[in-house]
Subunit: 189 residues, 4 copies
DNA sequence: AATGAATGAGGGTTCATTCAT
DNA sequence: GATGAATGAACCCTCATTCAT
C-alpha cells in the first residue's frame, strides 16, 4: 500500500486557490481555462479532480464550511457568537468575493451546493438560538435570513478591488446591523 | 418619402421588452439569440438598434430612469419620497430581476451604464436631502448608499419565481429599513 | 417575401458532398472539422444545417433514399429489378464507401437513421416480392437480408482506393449471388 | 534474481482479455482507459506491455493465429478442413465481434497487423488447396477471398448482442456458402 | 430597412501518452 | 516493476458579430 500521494493533495489545493481567485475576479462563470492557467496545471488535471464546475464550487464550499466550523468551535458558547459569525462571513466575502455566489451556484442548485448550504445552516443554528435567547437579536430572525444576508453582502461586493470591498462591507454591515437587533415598536407611518 | 417611424420605435420596444424578460430569466449574460428569438425579429435588427450588449443594457436603464423621473414628479415634495423611491426600487426589481445587475453591468462599467447611474443618483438626491432635513433617515446616509442598497436587493432576488422574489424583497426591506432610519446612540458592545 | 435563399441550398449540398467524401475516407466517426474544412465553410454553418452527426448522416441517407426511389421508378415492373437494386447498392457503396455504415449509424440507431432504413426497405419490398414470384431468387429471402447484404458489402470496401473497391465489390457480388438464387436441394454433408 | 515471470504473463493475459471485451463492445477505437479499467491494472502497465493500440491489436491477432493453428492441427488432413475453418472464423467473430476489425486495423495496416494476417493466410492455404483439389469449393477461390469473407462477416455482426450475432452469422453463412461451392455454368443473363 | 445565413474565436471535455512516486 | 497523477493536443459545440440577399 502506497501512502496517499502528498502531491495530489497539493494539486487539489492549488486548484482550489486558483479557482477562488479567478471566481473572485471574474465571477463563478469564469472560463475554467483561467483556473487551469493560474494553477499552472494541465487542463485535464482540473477535470480529474473536479469533473465539472459544480463539484469545484462544492469543494470550495466545503473548505468554507470547515473554516466556519473551527471558528464556531473557538467561539464556544459566547452569546454574541452569531454576530461574530456574520462579521466573519463579511470578512470572508471581502477576501473571497465569489463566496456568496457559491451558495446559489450553477443553475438551480446542484447537490454538492445544496448539501454544503444545509450543513452551514445547521452549524449556525445554535449560535442564532443563543443570540435570540439572550435578546441580542430581533425575535423573528430566521436561519433563512442568514442566506439572504450572505447574498446581499456578496452582490454588493462583486467586481470591486479588495479595498473597495472592505469599505463597502463595513458600510453594508452598518446598514444591516440595526435590522438584526431587537426592534422597538415602530410608530405607524 | 414614407413616414414609417412608429415602426422602428415599435421594434425597439419589442427588443427591450424581450431583453428585460430574457435577462430576468437567465441573467444579463444570456445569449442574445434568446432576445432575438423572443422579440421575433431578425438578428441584425437587434444589432442595428443596439450595437452591443452594453448599449442594450444602457437602453434598459434609460427606461428605468424615465420611470423613476415620472415617479418622483408624482411624489412632488413629500418628505418621505426617498422611502417611496426605495420601495419602488424593490418593486421594480421584483418585477424585473435583472434590474440590479444592470447597474454594475458588463465588465467594469461601460459608458452608457455609468451615465445612467449618474442620472439616477442626481434624480434621487433631492429626495434624500429632504428626508434627511425632516429627520426621517439617518444623518450619515449617502447617495452611494442607494447604489449599495440596490445591489443588495438585487442579489437577494436573482433566479427565483416572482412570488419568492416578492417575499424575499419584503424581508430584505424589513432587515434594511431600521438601518436607514435615524440611529440611537448604541451602547458599546 | 423573399425567395428561399438559393445559396443556403448550395451550402447544404456542399456540406453533404464534403461529408460523404470525408466519411468515405476516414469512416463516419471522422472529425467534423474535416467536413467543415473540405466544404470550405464556417464551422457553425455545419451545425446550423445539421445540429449533430446523426442528422448529417440522416440527410445523407435521405439523398440515397431519393436516388433509390428514382432508380426503382426507372426500372418499372421488371422482374429482375431486385438484382438491379443490389448491383446499384454495390455501385453506390463503391462510389461512397461510408454508405453502408450510415445504415447502422451512430451509437444505437438514431431516429433519422431508423426512419430512412424503414423507407428503403419499404421501397425495395415490391421488387423483392416480384423476384420471388418469378422464381429468380431463393424462396426464403427476406427484407432483412438486404440489410445484411448491405452491411457485408460495405465492410468489405472500407478505406480502399476507388479501384480496389470496385474490384472487391465485383468479387463480393460473385460470392454472394449464388446464395441469393433459388437453391437446389443440397446433399447432406 | 527473482523469477517472477508468471506474474507478468498473467498481467498480459488480463489485458488482452479486457481489450477483447472492450473492443467487442465499443469497437477497436474504444478509449484505452476502458481497457485499463476492466483489467484492473495501472495505466502505465498497459503501455509497458503494449506501446500503442496497434501492438495491442497485434497481440490479439497473435492469439487468434495460435488458436487457428491448433485448430488446423486437430483437423489434420480432412478435405473439408477449409469449411471448418470458415465456420470457426464465424464462431470466433460471434464470440469476439471486434475480431474482424482487427484485420484491417488502425489506419492503413500497421506492421504487427500485416504480419499476423500474412501468417493466417499461410496457415489456411493448405486447407484451401485441399478443398479445391477435392472439388469441394469453387475453382477460382482465392486466399484473398478469405480476408473478404472475414470482413463481410465482421461488419454484419457489429454492434449487436451476442444472440443477434449468432442468428446473423448463421444467416450470413447460409447466404455465402453457395457462393463458395463449385459453380455450375450459369445461363447468360 | 430588414432578414437570417455565415463566420471564427473560444469554452468545455476527452483521451493517448508520459512521468513522478 | 507497478501505479495512477499529470499533461496537452484535439474534438465538439456555442455564440457574438458580420454580410449577402
Amino acid at each position: 500500500m502506497t501512502s496517499i500521494r502528498p502531491d495530489a493533495a497539493l494539486r487539489r489545493a492549488q486548484l482550489l486557490d486558483a479557482a477562488d481567485a479567478v471566481f473572485g475576479e471574474h465571477g463563478i462563470t469564469a472560463p475554467l481555462d483561467l483556473v487551469v492557467e493560474r494553477a499552472a496545471v494541465g487542463r485535464a488535471t482540473l477535470y480529474r479532480n473536479f469533473p465539472d464546475r459544480a463539484s469545484l464550487i462544492g469543494a470550495l464550499l466545503e473548505r468554507t464550511v470547515a473554516q466556519l466550523q473551527s471558528h464556531l468551535l473557538e467561539l464556544g458558547n459566547r452569546e454574541d457568537a452569531f454576530f461574530e459569525v456574520i462579521d466573519a462571513m463579511a470578512a470572508r466575502i471581502v477576501h473571497s468575493p465569489a463566496m456568496a455566489d457559491y451558495w446559489r451556484a450553477v443553475d438551480q442548485d446542484s447537490p454538492p451546493v445544496r448539501d454544503a448550504r444545509q450543513r452551514v445552516l445547521q452549524l449556525i443554528e445554535p449560535a442564532l438560538l443563543r443570540a435570540k435567547a439572550a435578546g441580542l437579536c430581533r425575535a423573528d430572525l430566521q436561519l433563512s435570513d442568514v442566506t439572504l444576508i450572505s447574498s446581499m453582502l456578496g452582490a454588493a461586493l462583486r467586481g470591486r478591488t479588495r479595498e473597495e470591498r472592505s469599505v463597502l462591507a463595513t458600510r453594508a454591515l452598518e446598514l444591516l446591523r440595526p435590522g438584526l437587533s431587537p426592534q422597538r415598536a415602530r410608530a405607524v407611518p
